[in-house]
């Protein structure tokens, strides 16, 4: 019973944190963009514009909600709902901190420590493409359908390479559970991060994560110059808000996955020393803080790249996915296998 209450509490907290971080990512994105262009960015709503996400949200709610006459009403509403739901679902299997000993029971700071965590994430991520596909299809608009076709092609192509690069990590860890992947990186004074053992795998995963979240340089599905708004051309009001918002939630979750698969999750250097000298709760808080810092760095990295690199052309995107990343990830897998054999 207590366990269920704890988990429900964790779910609610996670939900709120994801939304909060996503909301402030939109603010951060605008600030980062501005700073990289030698500007100041939004600074009128509250001190240094800190209330900007609220103002944006309010604006979205106040807008007229238009459903085009020839659109399929049901699917049109379903699209953004699926996008948002799948974006939020992935946070369930991410271990946010080490296990806690509370009131005599061991509880983990993870909603569900399912033993196929990484498969679950891949599955839910690929469900996300339905949100975009259905939304674009239901809009009954050429731009939307082109945008959603691009999105689905891109996501399907890059999922392959992404999966392959994860397989290498699974081989070294010997487990599909994310919490085990994270705890296996504890070695070498908390610096046994996978990125040092799998640099190529990390690079492939990073590129694929950009493509999966439809971020620049792979933001072809919403390429304004060719496709007006891409798959959300016909959307307005909070439905549009959901699409835009789910992109930021996705970005947050992708950063969390990168951080936990390749950058040791909540592990940090000399953490055994810290663990021995602090109380358990404080240690958990520190670990979660370290994890969040890693995630926020990657969120920043997503934005940093967005304001640096121009967009790919569609054929270049496909070339990169099928002819470069996929063979490379298979090669990476083979090399990993070879070294594992050698160690045995």
């Amino acid at each position: 019973m207590e366990l269920i209450l704890f988990k429900v509490g964790l779910v609610v907290v996670l939900f709120l944190i994801s939304l909060l971080i996503a909301a402030y990512s939109t603010y951060a994105e605008r600030k980062v963009a501005a700073f990289m262009q030698d500007r100041i960015g939004p600074n009128r709503a509250g001190p240094i514009g800190i209330l900007q996400p609220l103002a944006d949200g309010l604006k979205m709610f106040m807008k007229e909600d238009i459903i085009p006459q020839n659109a399929n009403r049901f699917l049109f509403i379903l699209g953004p709902a699926i996008s948002m739901a799948t974006a939020l679902m992935t946070s369930a299997v991410i271990p946010w901190g080490p296990d806690l000993n509370l009131f005599g029971t061991t509880v983990s700071l993870q909603v569900a420590d399912i033993n196929i965590g990484i498969l679950y994430i891949m599955g839910v991520l690929s469900l996300g493409v339905y949100g975009i596909m259905i939304g674009g299809w239901a809009s009954n608009n050429k731009y939307s359908i082109l945008g959603s076709i691009r999105a689905s092609t891109q996501m399907i192509s890059y999922e392959l390479a992404m999966g392959m690069s994860i397989v290498a990590v699974i081989m070294t860890t010997g487990s599909l559970s994310i919490s085990q992947m994270v705890s296996s990186q504890e070695g070498s004074f908390g610096m046994g991060w996978n990125v040092f053992y799998q640099p190529l795998g990390f690079l492939i995963f990073l590129v694929c994560a950009f493509a999966e979240t439809n971020r620049t340089p792979f933001d072809l599905p919403e390429c304004e110059t060719e496709l007006v708004g891409g798959y959300h051309t016909e959307y307005s009001s909070m439905k549009l808000g959901f699409y835009l918002f789910s992109e930021y939630v996705n970005m947050f979750i992708s950063s969390a996955i990168i951080a936990s698969l390749f950058f040791g999750g909540y592990n940090f250097p000399y953490m055994q020393v810290v663990q021995e000298n602090t109380s358990q709760i404080l240690f958990a808080v520190i670990c979660t803080g370290v994890f969040l810092a890693k995630i926020l760095f990657f969120v920043f990295f997503f934005m940093w790249v967005r304001w640096t690199i121009p967009r790919f052309r569609f054929d270049q995107l496909m070339d990169l996915g099928w002819k470069v990343l996929l063979p490379l990830s298979i090669l990476n897998m083979l090399i990993t296998g070879f070294f594992i054999l050698l160690n045995n």
């Binding site: 980062v32 700073f35 990289m36 030698d38 940093w304 790249v305 640096t308």
Partner: protein
């Protein structure tokens, strides 16, 4: 032919080297540049609170001047309206009555004087045409408004006040480029 700058690059279709083809060094260089800009000094001017300094040639909203004794300079000769390429200026002339000498410098004055800021192209011909030093362009910008009607600036909006603190300083004003050239 000799090029004017040394910035041009000779285009070549050479095949890319391996490091260029994997694209990553270029990306890293790009990331370094944007990060450097991240910490650079920002160039934004926070407009309503801060304003940019305008040069003496800047042409903004007009002011109708008075002389030292507070009398209106304008004599409603209509030369400004005549010179205006956008036909933004209209006026109605009136004759000065006895006892109004402290208000108007000449025997004839403009009882109504309007400039349509939506028509005006801020060329400054009006101030150059004026024989009485009555109209000047200032560095004020016309404010935004909800109706077209509000952009027609009437005489009471254009005329400077009599009190010394209501006077508009135009001593630094330089009219037109031509004046300097001649």
């Amino acid at each position: 032919m000799q090029s004017l700058t040394n910035r041009s690059k000779v285009v070549s279709n050479k095949t890319m080297s391996w490091s260029e083809r994997i694209y990553l060094p270029a990306i890293l260089a790009g990331l370094r540049i944007t990060l450097a800009h991240f910490f650079k000094k920002k160039v934004t001017i926070q407009y309503p609170e801060q304003t940019k300094d305008h040069g003496p040639y800047f042409r903004g909203v007009h002011v109708l001047k008075r002389d030292d004794q507070g009398r209106e300079n304008c004599t409603a000769c209509g030369l400004c309206a005549l010179s205006c390429p956008a036909e933004a200026i209209t006026m109605v002339a009136a004759e000065r009555k006895p006892g109004e000498e402290h208000l108007y410098r000449e025997e004839k004055y403009a009882i109504e004087y309007e400039i349509n800021m939506l028509r005006c192209i801020f060329c400054g011909f009006c101030e150059e045409a004026c024989p009485k030093d009555a109209i000047y362009l200032t560095d004020l910008l016309p404010t935004s408004n909800y109706t077209r009607k509000k952009f027609v600036y009437t005489k009471d909006m254009l005329l400077e006040g009599i009190a010394p603190e209501d006077r508009r300083d135009v001593s630094k004003r330089r009219k037109g480029i031509r004046e300097g050239a001649m």
